[in-house]
């Protein structure tokens, strides 16, 4: 693998925005979908940018992820393919979520290109809005040292922070690069062509960066297995699981911000959702001594795990959006790991890999027969 060093004197954002501009100028990209700081300065949103000047103020790697990029891309391509070429600049988990949505026909990837960056993780949005300046500084420190306090727990255990198993066209490597430097790599054939057209020559060896990525991944993998094994005990059995979700207030925010939850209306918000008659609730309360209201809290979370576990990319949006600090994302990561392992499935790796529950394998039938 080869790449090109890009100067990052004005930080990662400055370096990447320069690349984006030259890509736009070369004419092979019609528009860029990229996070940008809102005027108030307190948060970031996705902008679909056509005017190259506006790229000056973009923030390709913001400290927080208030909007999951896959959701932004979904809004753009929900009704089918776009006619103009769009380059989406996203974190790896956002790219992977986009791929999962594409498998469900909620995103159309035609004429869509992806650029990702090595992602150290994101800070909690609620922390950030309280003191943007201080947290910007803290994030800069994390970027420099590739560690630091305040990262969301999910991000601490993320092994897909670089471009391996992420189907991007372009990637910006940050781990272990010299200060004020980054590497840009054309990952796909199209990515190589883009850089070529933009006049960025990619002939440098990037193996040093790759080694650093490996190291960082090992560390995160270690974190992950530790967290998962702790959670295994904490989440075992209905009672324990109930404790984990005890603080839930049924606001369904986790579902609304989840990039994979794609239903027009959640079953648990629909009129089909079965609610018992009062007398039945009384009977239940009689049997158990008392029951909690609204009643479908556990069912809602289990339903989401059942529907989304296979495709969960561990972006942490659910937990970030939770007003009660329920560890939703960690439970998902734990359940997701298990079920993804069962089907040998890595969500978001490739659009060519069908969702396992929608494929039929004859062998599986025999397994079932013999059982």
């Amino acid at each position: 693998m080869t790449g090109a060093t890009i100067q990052a004197k004005n930080g990662v954002n400055g370096a990447v925005s320069a690349v984006l501009k030259s890509l736009k100028d070369s004419g092979c990209v019609d528009a860029v979908l990229v996070p940008t700081r809102v005027k108030s300065g307190e948060t970031f949103v996705y902008l679909l940018i056509r005017n190259p000047k506006m790229l000056d103020s973009c923030a390709p790697l913001p400290p927080v992820m208030p909007v999951q990029g896959a959701r932004a891309l979904q809004s753009l391509t929900r009704h089918g393919k776009v006619e103009q070429t769009v380059l989406c600049v996203m974190r790896p988990c956002e790219v992977r979520a986009s791929i999962e949505l594409a498998k469900r026909r909620q995103v159309d990837l035609e004429n869509v290109l992806f650029m990702s960056l090595d992602c150290p993780g994101a800070l909690r949005t609620r922390d950030y809005v309280n003191d943007p300046e201080a947290l910007d500084k803290r994030y800069q420190g994390i970027l420099n040292n590739w560690e630091g306090d305040g990262l969301r727990p999910t991000c601490e255990t993320c092994v897909h922070f670089s471009c391996e198993d992420v189907p991007v066209d372009l990637h910006v490597g940050l781990v272990g690069t010299k200060e004020e430097e980054a590497v840009i790599i054309g990952v796909s054939k199209r990515g190589e062509e883009l850089l070529d057209k933009a006049g960025i020559e990619c002939s440098e060896d990037v193996s040093a960066w790759q080694v650093e990525v490996e190291k960082a991944r090992d560390k995160k993998a270690g974190n992950r297995s530790k967290v998962v094994s702790e959670l295994k005990d904490k989440a075992a059995g209905m009672d324990n699981l109930g404790l984990l979700f005890a603080d839930c207030i049924n606001c369904h925010n986790c579902m609304r911000v989840c990039p994979i939850c794609y239903c027009r209306q959640c079953f648990f918000d629909s009129s089909d959702q079965v609610r018992l008659r009062a007398e039945d609730y009384f009977a239940k309360a009689q049997a158990r001594g008392g029951i909690r209201f609204p009643g479908d809290m556990m069912q809602f979370h289990l339903g989401r795990i059942y529907h989304m576990g296979l495709s969960c990319v561990g972006c942490g949006a659910c937990e970030d959006g939770c007003p009660m600090d329920v560890p939703v994302s960690q439970v998902f990561a734990f359940a997701g790991d298990e079920v993804q392992k069962t089907f040998d499935y890595v969500p978001g790796r490739s659009t060519d890999e069908p969702i396992p529950t929608l494929t039929y394998e004859e062998d599986e039938l025999h397994e079932y027969e013999d059982a």
Binding site: R78, H79, G80, R104, R105, Q106, Y262, C263, R264, Q265, C266, F267, S270, D272, V274, L276, D280, A283, H307, T357, L358
Partner: protein, 556 residues
């Protein structure tokens, strides 16, 4: 609340002895959810059915629950009673307290408890039953046949009728593989004598429309109402409407060029069986530069590559060997075979007759053909491993049958599958061998697998049997009532239901970006409803509400 009646069947002593029906009746009555409870010795008997009908009418029940045996046995019986008394046949629930309680739970107390739970669940469920309409549609009895080989011709001749038109499309000329064949085994009649009159009959039949040199561009629709788009050589498009589609695309001879050991295409004097037939055995023998004194016929050419035995080649090659011996008595013919495949009542005799004509047979394990100045050498390994050699003037390669390469494209068009060899897959390999997973799409002849002419004809007739019995002119098609539907409001068009539907009944409406269910094709399996994450797809007789209420009641 609707007026619900409960009927308890004693099934002679079968239920009455194993379950305390008095207690069941008393407890259900206490629940206060049913308007009346009646018992009978045997509800499925003539007397029982009469009693049931009269009781429903007399009490004015709007719905009823009957606790008796397995729905597999008598659901139809009681649905008929419901219809007879003017209720919608969905307005009852049959509870299986015989197989699932009386016969399987030895303890009477426990069996009674289990039966009670089931009955309570049914009483709750039946309140949520919805009347479903028995729909019927007109259907088009016409047949669209793809392929003008012997399979397609036979289907056309056997289905063209008063009141039924047949459209037959052939991408080239009529006659298929048979038009280049010399004689037909085992009768040893000229293939032309067989084919000619059939093609004449086809052309003279006013109910049959032929589209030669036409390509099938598209087939849309479903059982009873397909629309096909053809394209002529000149690029003109023709639209056809038919109720069923028959795939009779045939097969093609395996091409031995890719197998170096036979020297085919490189060595003079190596022919495939098809080439011999096309050129004519007599002609080849007389027009050869030097006299053909010896011929080796090699069996199973391509078998390992194809992965199956093509069935017709053993006998076909014997036919050629016999012809050679008949036309030139001094020509030695040796058949090199691996296993003789002579299935059925006629072929052992054919083999013996062939041997009697002086054709020699030798078994081989592997074989190689090489050339030299003096002629061809066939080296082969005999069973046990010893080598042997034959010097011959001509080699005939008995090739197997390969699937028609256009099958996958057609399969895609009609939402059916092809197997790993490229043949169309049957709805059920044993029980429904000329039907496919798409209702109204049939397969006949070598399109579904290798076989001989006789197999092709009988399969074509079978297809005709299926068409004639399912699409009767003037008869309306009764649809499944317990089907699925998709809520336009809830559907986001993710296509999950489309993937899990085995009958091609759910499709995506691209313009509205939602899924739609074709009620003609839906068989009510419920796969879509269980796979849909938002509940947009639902089964009309197994709604979430019905199931939830039923299960909640059971688990109480």
């Amino acid at each position: 609340m609707a007026k619900i009646g409960l009927y308890l069947c004693e099934c002679g002593p079968n239920i009455a002895d194993a379950i305390d029906l008095d207690r069941v009746a008393a407890e259900i009555e206490k629940d206060g959810k049913v308007a009346g409870i009646e018992r009978h010795k045997l509800f499925c008997s003539a007397d029982g059915k009469k009693f049931l009908a009269e009781s429903i009418k007399k009490n004015g029940f709007e719905r009823f629950v009957i606790a008796a045996c397995s729905p597999k046995q008598h659901e139809g019986t009681f649905a008929e009673v419901a219809s007879d008394v003017g209720l919608n046949p969905q307005m009852f629930q049959l509870v299986n307290i015989r197989e699932q309680c009386a016969w399987t739970v030895p303890d009477k107390e426990q069996a009674t408890g289990k039966a009670l739970r089931f009955i309570r669940a049914a009483v709750t469920r039946v309140q949520y039953h919805q009347a479903l309409e028995q729909k019927e549609i007109d259907c088009n009895p016409d047949v669209f046949v793809i392929g003008g080989g012997i399979a397609g011709i036979e289907v056309a001749l056997r289905t063209a009728h008063k009141g039924r038109k047949v459209f037959l499309a052939e991408k080239g000329e009529l006659g298929g593989m048979l038009k280049e064949r010399g004689l037909l085994f085992p009768a040893m009649e000229p293939a032309g004598d067989f084919l000619g009159p059939r093609i004449d009959a086809l052309r003279n039949n006013p109910q049959i429309e032929l589209f030669e040199n036409c390509k099938v561009k598209e087939v849309l629709g479903f059982f009873g109402s397909f629309v096909a788009l053809l394209e002529t050589q000149e690029g003109k498009e023709i639209e056809l409407k038919a109720g069923s589609v028959v795939l009779a695309t045939g097969a093609q001879a395996f091409n031995p060029k890719e197998l170096a050991e036979y020297g085919y295409g490189k060595l003079d004097g190596v022919y495939t069986a098809d080439e011999i037939e096309k050129r004519g055995v007599g002609k080849l023998l007389t027009e050869s530069a030097k006299p053909v004194k010896s011929v080796a016929v090699i069996h199973c050419v391509g078998r390992d590559k194809l992965g199956y035995c093509s069935k017709m080649c053993c006998v076909n090659s014997m036919k050629i060997a016999r012809q050679i011996r008949e036309q030139s008595a001094e020509t030695e013919v040796v058949e090199l075979y691996r296993d003789l495949c002579l299935p059925g009542k006629g072929y052992d005799r054919f083999y013996k007759e062939t041997e009697a004509k002086g054709v020699k047979f030798a078994r081989f394990e592997s074989v190689e053909v090489t050339g030299g100045d003096s002629g061809l050498t066939v080296k082969y390994k005999q069973p046990g491993g010893t080598g042997a050699e034959l010097a011959v003037d001509m080699v005939v390669l008995s090739t197997g049958l390969a699937a028609n390469p256009s099958n996958p494209e057609l399969a895609d068009m009609l939402s059916i599958s092809v197997d790993e060899s490229g043949f169309f897959v049957e709805e059920h390999a044993v029980l429904n061998p000329v039907s496919t997973m798409t209702e109204g799409v049939f397969i006949a002849g070598c399109a579904r697998g290798p076989g001989d002419t006789r197999d092709t004809i009988v399969q074509a007739s079978a297809t005709a049997g299926k068409v004639l019995s399912s699409l009767v002119p003037g008869k309306r098609l009764q649809l499944e009532t317990r089907t699925s539907e998709v809520s336009e409001k809830l559907c986001v068009g993710c296509g999950t239901c489309v993937t899990v539907c085995a009958y091609g009944a759910t499709t995506l409406d691209e313009s509205r970006h939602i899924a739609v269910v074709n009620e003609v094709l839906c068989r009510g399996c419920g796969n879509c409803a269980s796979a849909c994450p938002s509940g947009a797809a639902k089964h009309r007789h197994f709604t979430t509400r019905q199931l939830n209420q039923e299960v909640t009641e059971i688990l109480k």
